[in-house]
Symmetry: C2
Subunit: 336 residues, 2 copies
């Protein structure tokens, strides 16, 4: 099996032909929701989530049996500019930690019954320092998109994409600024915990990048200031759409990658919900730009897909209610 694209242009074409939710299943799920033993609307957003999920799965009474969490890791040449509180070696060290089961995302994946895979993308060859030249060649960004696309198991019924990459909040901030507009300071944050001087350096780096490249095209922006793990997440989210697998978006970096899809093709994220609002500076703004209301807001700012993985529980609860509850008629309860 190979990814169905070999250029950015072909990838763009695929986004334009993305499938839609099944309207018949959506309507049937809506009908079912109205008959369940609860006052109308009493399950709040759980009802909307269940109907949305049913539509994408083409099943008015769906189950979540096979959630998949995929972590992509990449290294960033821009770390040379002193934008992170941690050294680049930590990326590979954390990949080993993921592989040995010791990180937060391992525990969350297990807790919510998700399979989890890690893809380390050329960690020994960081992207170019984008203050000096484009982060990636077209071949490099396409390869990362393909790896992301192929990482999605077509039999999964829910996808979370996470990332690890020292320096990648700077890359994500530059990408968000390029794709959604605004100034560098609107998008940079403290990442893993830089001090005020580090934050100022991050803003300077993003400002430089915005002046350096012509980034009218979101996919070109991904190439110029993105990273391999960001491109891979975008590829995976696009593949999920192709397979009608609903997606829970994670934090700032995941949403910056997803934003490339949304700005390339309208509705490209209709199969995705926002798992949480991160404490990372620009995430609230990014969620607003994507038009997504987060399911959780618990101050997480870890990445790794952790916030989205936690939200698997919320979605599982929503689907359990929708598909497991009986109707007023079945229960013999008055007033339905």
């Amino acid at each position: 099996m190979q990814a169905p694209f070999t250029t950015l242009s072909e990838f763009r074409d695929i986004l334009g032909k993305a499938p839609q939710a099944d309207a018949t299943a959506t309507d049937a799920a809506q009908d079912r929701n109205g008959q369940l033993t609860k006052p109308p609307g009493a399950l709040g957003r759980l009802e909307d989530l269940a109907i949305w999920y049913a539509g994408w799965r083409g099943n008015p009474k769906p189950q979540i049996d096979a959630p998949q969490v995929i972590i992509f890791a990449g290294n960033h040449g821009v770390c040379a500019q002193g934008v992170s509180a941690f050294p680049s070696e930590v990326t590979a060290q954390m990949v080993a930690n993921f592989e040995h089961g010791g990180a937060a995302i391992n525990q969350l994946s297990k807790a919510f019954g998700a399979s989890m895979q890690v893809h380390a993308l050329s960690l020994d060859t960081p992207t170019a320092d984008f203050t000096q030249g484009p982060a990636m060649t077209e071949a490099e960004v396409v390869t990362a998109l393909q790896i992301g696309w192929m990482a999605v198991d077509p039999v999964s019924d829910l996808l979370v994409t996470g990332e690890m990459g020292i320096g990648n909040t700077t890359s994500a901030a530059a990408l968000a600024a390029a794709v959604f507009g605004g100034a560098a300071v609107d998008w940079v944050g403290r990442g893993t915990g830089v001090d005020d001087a580090g934050l100022t350096r991050k803003a300077g780096v993003v400002t430089q990048a915005l002046a350096l490249y012509k980034m009218d095209d979101p996919l070109e922006a991904l190439r110029c200031v993105g990273g391999r793990e960001l491109a891979a997440m975008a590829g995976a989210i696009a593949a999920a759409r192709h397979h009608r697998i609903p997606v829970i978006l994670d934090g700032f970096i995941c949403c910056a990658a997803a934003g490339v899809l949304a700005q390339t093709s309208e509705g490209a994220l209709d199969h995705a919900v926002a798992g949480h609002q991160s404490a990372e500076g620009g995430h609230a703004r990014l969620l607003a730009a994507l038009g997504k209301e987060p399911l959780l807001n618990l101050g997480l700012r870890l990445g790794e897909g952790s916030g989205a993985a936690l939200a698997i529980g919320v979605l599982k609860g929503a689907i359990a209610c929708h598909s497991g509850m009986v109707t007023f008629a079945e229960a013999g309860v008055s007033g339905g």
Copy 2:
């Protein structure tokens, strides 16, 4: 086994002698949290939750293996005043639905691995219409507190109390107003879905009650305007404290019952977190009065313990991370 009180006065004494969290376990959990493979604070509220839970369980590396959901059901004489959109018969019908596994709380309990029991409290004998006289005698309220107390399994490691009782948002609004002050309109909401006229009737009923009784003592307020299921929830939450079982509070009615404990004895809810913020009118105000920040805010307004049960997933995720992650030293990751 019997509950360790036979009067309201004895129950009050027990609240005054409630055990505290284990400071040694709290400190050890705090230490452990600082060594886990993540930037400091990057798991946000999950870190606070894990440390809090560890303290109450007296174990710096705890597990959640036996969550218990208990639903108490009661009927309310005040329904004679036209305060609900549903007839009182629905209480018993929904109890049957709980027993047959068809309600939302059944699905959520199953989804999060919780045992679930239902206690129907004298449904054929509603409390007195509190616009005419006190809802309960002292014997009745003590019996309900005892039933709640005894319903808690001492080997549980997490408790959710839920309720079902047509008319009980009116009872809870009167109780909240009596216990926390404010006007009737501050506390009444649409419950299962009353119209504007119904909402006005609810406010009128609460105003009448506030004028009718001297309710300086929260336990006396529980007797005068509460209900059996509210008293039972209060008894269960107190028993959980006695056994050092952490509690996730549910919505408006659960929090009104819990507020009786908090106003009777300072710190009586230190072993409890707020599972969610309900869409029911007065719940945000009630959470503020309790000083509790909700874990979820998804527009639920169903009762049954549903919002708190959904939050079991969040707490399980927090504990999974805390107890399952490795330390920087164990993983060989730089920068810890």
